[in-house]
């Protein structure tokens, strides 16, 4: 057992934090709305090798593990960075795993790769994350084959959405399609990619949760009401203490899920779902309480808390109604079917 980051991981975490603090202030996040994508920032993170950080060295990646990717995801959440690092990482890892050398090379060089979170229906993959700006979309076809889709365009219109995310539909019929794997190999690899996405997304939600708590704590330490600091009120303290406690639990759980995926532990898939669910709820609670304690200002677009609240909510919905995800945990971990 070791619950601390390794020295080089801590150095990476510090570096990422410093980078994002400098390069991704909320002014940049706001400037990238409503599309939710900043191509320049994307090039910067590609240059740092972030989307391919967990791809083996010999395939041109960083040779790190999901744990390191988790540190990246945390900062993506903490700074609500307008770059699709989580989808791209899961997709890039998947390309590496199924030996799609050409596509992997493109992704390592900065092509935006992503995966579908929802099974395509009637030939359309709906609401693909980063779908509006993706070059490569990975999905499962009707017969369980792993497909890479390309349509030759660099951007597509994105529907107006709560999380100001570059989601978009992809019409499979209008794409160049490459079959990367078939049969069990395809479904196993794709399922694995979704679980990586879940665990990374959990880290991103924890980043949101932490920053939302920080914003709330900063605010109530400065603002006064009825002659005392807002943070003096016991009910404010207790609700923030609950949030802080949950966040630290969520962090441990997300790290465990990443560790379990890295080591192919038996409960890895269940842990990925558990981390995703708990972190998503924690992030929403953190944002919601923090916004409430901002008073009227929390509701204004000028303050940053709304940037976090909207994404905490939107990101938690990417897989569908989160209640269904709970049933996946019951099935995988407890053997209880719906």
């Amino acid at each position: 057992m070791d619950l601390a980051l390794a020295e080089d991981q801590q150095a990476l975490a510090d570096h990422l934090r410093a980078f994002m603090e400098k390069q991704c202030p909320t002014s940049r996040v706001r400037a990238a709305e409503p599309l939710g994508f900043d191509r320049e920032l994307w090039h910067e993170v590609v240059e740092m090798g972030l989307p391919a950080i967990a791809v083996p060295d010999e395939l041109g990646g960083g040779g790190a593990s999901l744990e390191e990717l988790g540190l990246v995801a945390l900062e993506v959440g903490r700074h609500v960075a307008p770059v699709p690092l989580i989808e791209a990482s899961a997709a890039t890892n998947l390309l590496a795993r199924c030996g799609a050398t050409d596509l992997l090379g493109a992704a390592v060089d900065g092509a935006v790769a992503t995966i579908t979170l929802l099974a395509p229906e009637d030939g359309v993959a709906r609401l693909v994350p980063a779908g509006a700006v993706a070059d490569i979309v990975l999905t499962l076809g009707d017969y369980g084959e792993l497909l890479a889709l390309r349509d030759g365009r660099s951007e597509r219109p994105s529907p107006s959405n709560l999380g100001t995310a570059p989601i978009a539909d992809w019409d499979l019929g209008a794409c160049d399609t490459t079959v990367l794997a078939t049969g069990d190999a395809a479904t196993t690899a794709f399922t694995r990619a979704l679980d990586e996405w879940r665990a990374l997304q959990a880290m991103a939600q924890i980043g949101i949760a932490q920053r939302a708590l920080d914003l709330g704590v900063e605010y109530v330490k400065q603002r006064r009401a009825f002659g005392v600091l807002v943070g003096w009120f016991q009910s404010v303290q207790h609700r923030l203490a609950e949030v802080a406690t949950r966040i630290e639990g969520a962090e441990l759980l997300a790290h465990e899920a990443l560790w379990a995926l890295d080591g192919d532990e038996p409960d890895a898939a269940a842990l990925a779902s558990m981390a995703f669910l708990f972190a998503s709820e924690t992030a929403y609670q953190s944002c919601s309480e923090s916004l409430q304690f901002h008073g009227g200002y929390g509701f204004t677009l000028e303050y940053d808390i709304q940037l976090y609240l909207r994404r905490a909510k939107a990101w938690s919905l990417a897989l569908g109604d989160p209640h269904a995800e709970h049933r996946r945990v019951a099935s995988l971990l407890l053997g209880v079917e719906a």
Binding site: N161, Y284, K313, D321
Partner: protein
């Protein structure tokens, strides 16, 4: 007891719908959404012209013989179409206060003009640094002969961009305890030294900071006694909390609306999580309890009572439930729950996404939940005041 639902509008509904049908213009909606200004001058003029604004007001101040129920049926019909009448809402509250506490001259000067559609009043209580602690207002009004000189600023002065006046809470005696040195003024927005700056919100509504730099108003702009502003505020708050928590009945409730949509989607082959029926039932229960707590406030008014803590309870329960449930129905929509009005595949034209964002401020404005819980603890349970 008797919980019979009396449809007060029933006899006016058809006429009201006809009125709306005749006058309604889709541009108003588009404009409200684009600007975030929940006031439509053209509509307001029509309402004034047809005597609808004057419904229920005494004839000597411009009141008309239009039945109040007709006005409410029109309001309801407009609201069903998505139009908001916040400008009239705040004006109406202040007119009620004026009729209760102002001088005869003031009543004559303001009420008929407002009922004719020429006066819109925004509420200027909260300040940038006071939030829920409204009585901590620091905006100063200093008497200078027959005038008052006002300096300070207000936050969240909603609809000020469309208003002719701000109903302003100012400190007239800084040496008295904080609730005792306050006075209310009706400040014209064309006064020298008045300014405003927009505040955009998560719900899409625009509100404002308003600024007062040596704004001079005559003593006749003072509503209520000098330093008696807090008791005037109480009158206003009673009017403000009145119908605040009634949000649709019968088939218009959130539970019914989402239930209909779920059943339609199911009929089209879509599957929902098995927890959805229970979640809808919980929403229906919350909505019924909210309705009953609000109904109790109405009933107390009607029977000559003065609801106090009952209004706090109604607002507390309804807004907390509303916020919680709006967030939950977004989940039921699944991945498409994030889509906004106009997006392809959006459910119910994005109404729920819009209402979800709007719901977030409800537990803050008009008495934050924390303040309301303090009040319930003190006034209902007799617990000692813990606030300093």
């Amino acid at each position: 007891m008797d919980f019979t639902f009396t449809d007060d509008f029933a006899e006016h509904r058809k006429a009201a719908n006809d009125w709306v049908e005749t006058h309604f213009r889709q541009e108003w909606i588009d404009e409200q959404r684009a600007t975030g200004t929940h006031h439509e001058p053209e509509l307001h003029a029509l309402l004034a012209c047809d005597g609808i604004l004057g419904a229920g007001y005494p004839p000597e101040y411009g009141g008309t013989d239009v039945p109040v129920a007709f006005r409410e049926a029109v309001t309801a019909a407009l609201s069903t179409r998505g139009l908001l009448l916040d400008g009239w809402g705040s004006t109406h509250i202040v007119l009620r206060v004026i009729l209760e506490v102002a001088t005869e001259e003031q009543k004559q000067a303001i009420v008929p003009a407002a009922l004719a559609g020429n006066v819109i009043i925004a509420l200027g209580y909260t300040e940038p640094d006071s939030g829920s602690d409204v009585a901590a207002a620091r905006t100063r009004a200093v008497r200078d002969g027959d005038e008052w000189v006002i300096n300070g600023q207000k936050a969240f002065t909603s609809t000020a961009q469309a208003a002719t006046h701000v109903f302003l809470l100012a400190r007239t005696d800084p040496d008295k305890p904080k609730h005792r040195g306050l006075t209310l003024f009706l400040v014209p927005t064309d006064a020298d030294g008045y300014d405003l700056q927009p505040i955009e919100t998560l719900g899409g509504q625009r509100t404002n900071f308003t600024y007062y730099a040596d704004v001079r108003v005559p003593d006749s702009a003072r509503i209520g006694g000098v330093d008696e502003g807090w008791s005037v505020m109480r009158v206003a708050l009673v009017h403000e909390r009145g119908g605040n928590t009634l949000r649709g009945q019968g088939s218009a409730t959130l539970a019914h609306r989402v239930a209909r949509w779920v059943n339609e989607q199911r009929a089209a082959g879509r599957r929902f999580d098995p927890t959805v029926p229970e979640r809808l039932a919980r929403i229906a229960i919350d909505e019924e309890v909210s309705r009953l707590l609000a109904l109790r406030v109405t009933w107390m008014y009607q029977t000559g009572g003065v609801p106090g803590v009952e209004g706090s309870m109604a607002k507390l329960f309804a807004t907390e439930a509303y916020k919680r449930n709006k967030a939950d129905v977004i989940d039921m929509l699944g991945p498409a729950g994030v889509l906004q009005r106009g997006a392809e595949g959006v459910a119910l034209d994005g109404e729920l996404e819009q209402e979800y964002r709007e719901s977030i401020v409800e537990t803050i404005r008009g008495g934050a939940s924390e303040i309301l819980r303090d009040l319930v603890a003190e006034r209902r349970l007799g617990l000692p005041r813990s606030r300093p």
